[in-house]
């Protein structure tokens, strides 16, 4: 079987797709303002009509490359290309100011590669074990897990849980449009045949992530006009792999942090990078160097954020639960290809899932090669003026949406969801719970209904089963915790003020 998997991975077509995805991911990731989810959404348009393995390799390449690409501008101009690289600016930019940009970029590349490789290895070993457990999970527990995934993403909008909840509920409502999953009756289709299949998550995400970004960035692009950003000087790096491996403890710890955080739905590379940075500073022999240009301060967050790439695939491939926005997009892409992620992928003896997991290892190695060979090119490409990019995105998204079902209805849905995404961002409603709900909605409803059918309509089945009850309780805690902690802090502050008086 392992030979068959290797043969599946190492075809010229697959290797080409990995590299194309990586290249595009690094370039998009390096452009400030464009996120990893944007990179994967744009690449998604190219995968329509492709076979599932090369298309997944292209998307994974975009994901891994985007994670690393964000560090380039974080180091050179103190502006993280993606939010995941925010922690890299803390030491990367001071290093660049000291004339050691080459060292910082090399540390980021090696850190990202090692983190990515460890994460891919963790995926390869943990996912089949988890799949065995998931296989015995019944509908009530599956419903609880779906709800947990949703609550975890909602809890990320700490400032306003209410807006996060509204976002998720809107996503679930959009999911209800189309044919009912059990009886097949039309729901909220207003007599339109085109709506019978419902809104395709992929088209909605293309609108919400990619096209809405055009509306969101157009003012900035207009202000900048034709002017690209200035050229950057990159000093030649004197660092060798040996020098970086001195920090093996930091690399290992950051990788473990990344794997653990990545496997939890609702988290992501940004959180992992911050945790890794703080841990590296805490454990360092020279904590005073952090923030002033420490190689360890670049290595830790970059290892941490790329170490989530394989781990986020664990809940997605074993349970069909996307941990973050990128996974939601990938899940949408898989559904479009007719593949339903879940434990059955592992038990059915298909090599597909192992090819995907093994491919992630290869992608990380290619990232090291591309990063070493083309770094100057990536730096220059990141200077392309934004105003030329935006119309290109419009054309790409429109053709991509049309290609999903060769129908103009998809283009109309794309445009409507672009406006929805823009308005959501404008009024501070988080977009991620909306997209996660889009892909989890049907799974959530189907499992809830199955559970109620089994219990003859008694909703107490969700409470009576201990595992299900614990997951539901934990989900509830995730939602109320930010509010409670805020209230406790306010009470403490008041008590402190009263004591002072």
């Amino acid at each position: 079987m392992s030979l068959a998997v290797l043969a599946e991975i190492f075809t010229i077509h697959n290797l080409l797709m990995m590299n194309l995805g990586l290249f595009a991911g690094i370039v998009i990731g390096a452009m400030p303002g464009l996120s990893v989810s944007f990179a994967v959404t744009v690449l998604l348009t190219m995968t329509i009509g492709m076979e599932s393995i090369p298309s997944m390799f292209m998307l994974l390449g975009g994901y891994v490359g985007g994670m690393y690409g964000g560090s380039i501008t974080a180091i050179l101009i103190n502006t993280p290309g993606t939010p995941n690289s925010a922690a890299t600016t803390l030491d990367g930019y001071p290093l660049a100011k000291q004339g050691r940009a080459g060292d910082a970029l090399k540390a980021a590349l090696y850190g990202s590669t090692i983190g990515g490789l460890i994460s891919a290895a963790a995926l390869l070993f943990l996912a089949p074990q988890l799949a065995k457990i998931v296989e015995v999970i019944a509908s009530p527990e599956m419903f609880a897990i779906c709800l947990f995934g949703l609550c975890a993403t909602i809890s990320l909008s700490k400032d306003n849980i209410i807006k996060g909840l509204i976002s998720a509920l809107l996503g679930l409502l959009v999911c209800c449009v189309g044919l009912d999953p059990i009886f097949g009756t039309g729901r909220m289709i207003f007599g339109s045949r085109s709506l019978m299949a419902g809104f395709r998550p992929v088209t909605c995400m293309l609108g919400v992530y990619a096209l809405s970004q055009v509306l969101f960035e157009c003012n900035t692009a207009r202000q900048k006009g034709d002017s690209g950003t200035r050229g950057y000087e990159i000093s030649k790096s004197a660092l060798r792999l040996r020098d970086l491996l001195k920090y093996w403890k930091t690399i290992l710890k950051s990788s473990v942090i990344g794997v653990i955080i990545g496997a939890i739905p609702g988290t992501g590379g940004g959180i992992s990078a911050m945790f890794s940075y703080n841990e590296a500073r805490r454990a360092s022999k020279n904590p005073e160097k952090f923030g002033k240009g420490s190689i360890e301060g670049v290595l830790a967050p970059e290892t941490g954020n790329n170490a989530v790439t394989g781990a986020t695939l664990i809940p997605m491939l074993t349970m069909g639960i996307p941990g973050d926005a990128v996974m939601a997009i990938m899940l949408g892409a898989l559904t479009m290809q007719g593949i339903t992620p879940g434990a059955k992928l592992f038990s059915a003896g298909s090599i597909w899932v192992y090819a995907i997991m093994g491919g992630l290892l290869v992608i990380n190695i290619f990232m090291l090669l591309q990063g070493s060979l083309f770094i100057k090119l990536f730096v220059n490409v990141s200077r392309i003026p934004e105003n030329i990019l935006l119309p290109c995105i419009v054309v790409l998204c429109t053709m991509g949406a049309f290609a999903i079902s060769n129908s103009m209805i998809e283009v109309a849905v794309l445009i409507v969801f672009a406006l929805i995404g823009f308005l959501m961002k404008k009024f501070g409603i988080p977009v991620i719970p909306f997209t996660i709900a889009l892909v989890l909605g049907t799974l959530c409803e189907t499992n809830l209904r199955r559970s109620l059918m089994v219990s003859y309509g008694d909703p107490m089945i969700l409470v009576r089963r201990p595992i299900c009850f614990c997951i539901l309780l934990f989900s509830l805690l995730l939602l109320v915790y930010p509010t409670i902690s805020k209230a406790i802090k306010a009470l403490r502050k008041r008590a402190g003020e009263a004591a002072e008086k």
Partner: protein
Amino acid sequence: MDRKKAKTDIYMMLFFIILSLVLLFWVIPTQIKVTAMMEVESFTPKSFPQLIASGLLLVSVIGFVKSLIVYWKLGVCGERETAEKRTAGQWREALFPYVIFALIVIYGLLFKCFGIIPATIIVPPIILWCLRCRKWQMYAIFYAFTAIIYLLFTKILLVPIR
């Protein structure tokens, strides 16, 4: 949070309250038909959308009350809404995304009526112009890029784009 933002939140929550009421009392009852056979089940095709719409109503009401309290508290603290007038530049900045959106809609309509090539020749260059792109090379790069993408979709991915 400033008072203006709290006021925006009040209007937003009001919008969601109205939306959920419309869903609960008009869209769901008229757009989801439940037959007698389905009625036997405790969970009909209507139940899930009703549950979600009720949840949306509940959350928006809580959000509405919360925003009202914040707005009132900020008023008590003496914070006043600054009734400053928007300058022409600020208006332009606020409306510009909607102009681009209108152009995207026109692009979609032209695509539907005349096909992708005429639509791409006409609309995106207008967007480029609106984005203050004045170098002819940029237009050339844009057309080269779209030509490659068009060929990719039609010749390699075999998408029947007109």
